[in-house]
Symmetry: C2
Subunit: 349 residues, 2 copies
């Protein structure tokens, strides 16, 4: 079968590799019918991030169950299923607390488990460890128009929602979202879902911020850095907003977040930090009582909440996809996203 | 009158200075009958912290109202009153949200307001701006045995409580407290008040950790650094605790906190950070979904909750005081605390 590998910065290849098979009784094999490229894949594409060596790429996908191990009971051959960003047992104490990214038996796509290779989702098929805990059966036909919306629940929409939940967004909190990428726009949609009365989107790509406004942004600030901070302060009586969602990951965005957060407020990060050290000192954080939160989203924890909203059409998070490519052409999707010509790209087999 | 000034690192002097008088109609003058030295004063004593020039010291005090401005209505001459760590109007939006440290009209002791000098609390008297918002009348006699307990509500006990509240300590959260100083011990007492079933105190001064056990610590870990982290992990099934209260302020304590916090957990800082940059990167914070919170405590916000518990004897936070000096001898109190011969020192006129 075909799968996507990153050999190094800028070097994405689709190659023939071994078709996965059931290795343990809790496995399933899923034939992938829709996947996509993540903003976090681009960090690796830049040579940043945490990957080293040749990496199996992709962690957002849905598809059809082709085979199941003897112990799998919640999905069966022919089911249309969604896989969240990590595989997990969905039963351990961390999973029960909604932190599937810390599952005691889970792991990430494109890695290994005790039985062998666990492939990535930018491929024709993948072996799913702990299939009962990991997979979510989708109650729609294989050719549903909702598939792009549903695919966002594997990561990007849940990541935006995680940012808003960790930031404790509610009907009393004003919100700034830094970044008009797919995660930032998903965060806008999530902040609206949670009732935020004011949502300031900081971004300067008009096509994206226009979608942000449709998703619920009440204000758009295209300026960055000190100029952008001043603009948000102007919009908020000099105070900044109660919650700031940082959906970029670069140090400049971290500093910008602390520049626009209201005293006593929260900076919630979902942009994968491309830095280690940052200013969390007396003036930036301690005296004004700022909270810093966020992290890798346990997408599985939010699917029960968000899936019904997709099914009933009250949200359309799949609007972040503005292009589609065939799997063999996936390198062009990476390049288009890296060049900011595409917001987020669907990948079909 | 006499007041305490810090001329520079290690150079604390008690000198004659002008006796304060009412400058604006919202002022009161308080004759101080009891104050103390704070761990944060020691940072200045070391030459660290944020002070420069000659500083008026002291921000924890209680005393008798000597005079009030025409607009003051909640306290009158002769009242025994407590002053929280900052002065504040107690009516602005920040104060109503419980963040008096961000009061739109407030400030810190040992500074100035629009009318002139606002003295420090290690003195014979002080002018109180916004007296109605700032002062809390104490319903006990001037010679009550509870005065040391009540004095802790000006800062240290409320700071420990703030750490626990910001960390969202409850009956389901395990807690580690780093630091056996007066704030750390107050945090132990606060975590117990909030129902934490397990409270691990990291400290190695036996007299202090013994008091910590009386305050509610279930375990004491004297080891520091990697050894201390391993010990806490051993005590918690390898996981660490849901909440870690960092009551020291040095970078080593920050790293130790991240070493013992459970995935998905919270590090709540109340030790004044003696650093600016710290590791908040992918591995330390983002992937495990750690929250970093805390800050300067809005003591005023917690007095309604804690004062009744002191009055009914259910808590005795004043046990952190293990020495008393007369104001003219206050330099010996700084030195004794700096040498760790004294935990926290009362100062009497």
């Amino acid at each position: 079968m075909l799968a996507t590998f990153m050999y190094g910065p800028g070097d994405v290849r689709v190659e023939e590799t071994e078709t996965p098979t059931i290795l343990t009784p809790t496995d399933a094999i899923v034939r992938i019918t829709l996947s996509c490229v993540c903003g976090s894949d681009l960090h690796a594409f830049h040579g940043g991030g945490i990957r080293s060596g040749i990496a199996r790429m992709g962690h957002e996908f849905l598809g059809i169950v082709e085979d199941t191990g003897a112990d799998v009971s919640t999905v069966k051959q022919g089911d249309l299923v969604l896989a969240p960003f990590v595989w997990a047992d969905n039963t351990c104490d961390f999973c029960r607390e909604g932190l599937h990214t810390a599952c005691r038996h889970g792991g990430t796509w494109g890695s290994t488990d005790a039985a062998g290779i666990v492939g990535g989702g930018q491929a024709e098929a993948v072996r799913i460890p702990l299939a009962d805990g990991t997979l979510v059966k989708l109650p729609v036909p294989e050719d549903s128009e909702l598939l792009p919306d549903l695919l966002t629940l594997s990561d990007v929409m849940c990541t935006g929602y995680h940012a808003a939940v960790k930031g404790r967004v509610n009907e009393h909190t004003t919100v700034t979202v830094i970044g008009d990428g797919a995660v930032g726009l998903s965060a806008v949609l999530s902040a609206r879902l949670l009732g935020a009365p004011r949502i300031i989107l900081m971004g300067r790509h008009t096509a994206r911020t226009d979608l942000g406004v449709e998703f619920g942004a009440t204000d758009v600030v295209p300026e960055r850095g000190e100029e952008g901070i001043a603009k948000v302060k102007d919009l908020t009586n000099g105070d900044g907003t109660h919650v700031v969602i940082e959906a970029v990951g670069f140090p400049q965005a971290f500093d910008q977040a602390f520049g626009v957060v209201r005293k006593g407020g929260t900076v919630s990060r979902v942009g994968v930090p491309q830095y280690t050290e940052a200013n969390v000192g007396m003036q930036a954080m301690f005296f004004p009582n700022i909270t810093l939160t966020g992290g890798v989203a346990p997408a599985r924890a939010y699917i029960e909440t968000l899936l019904p909203k997709v099914l009933d059409g009250s949200i359309h998070p799949g609007r972040v996809f503005d292009r589609a490519v065939a799997l063999p052409d996936i390198a062009t999707a990476y390049q288009a996203m890296d060049d900011r010509e595409a917001l987020k790209v669907l990948v079909r087999p």
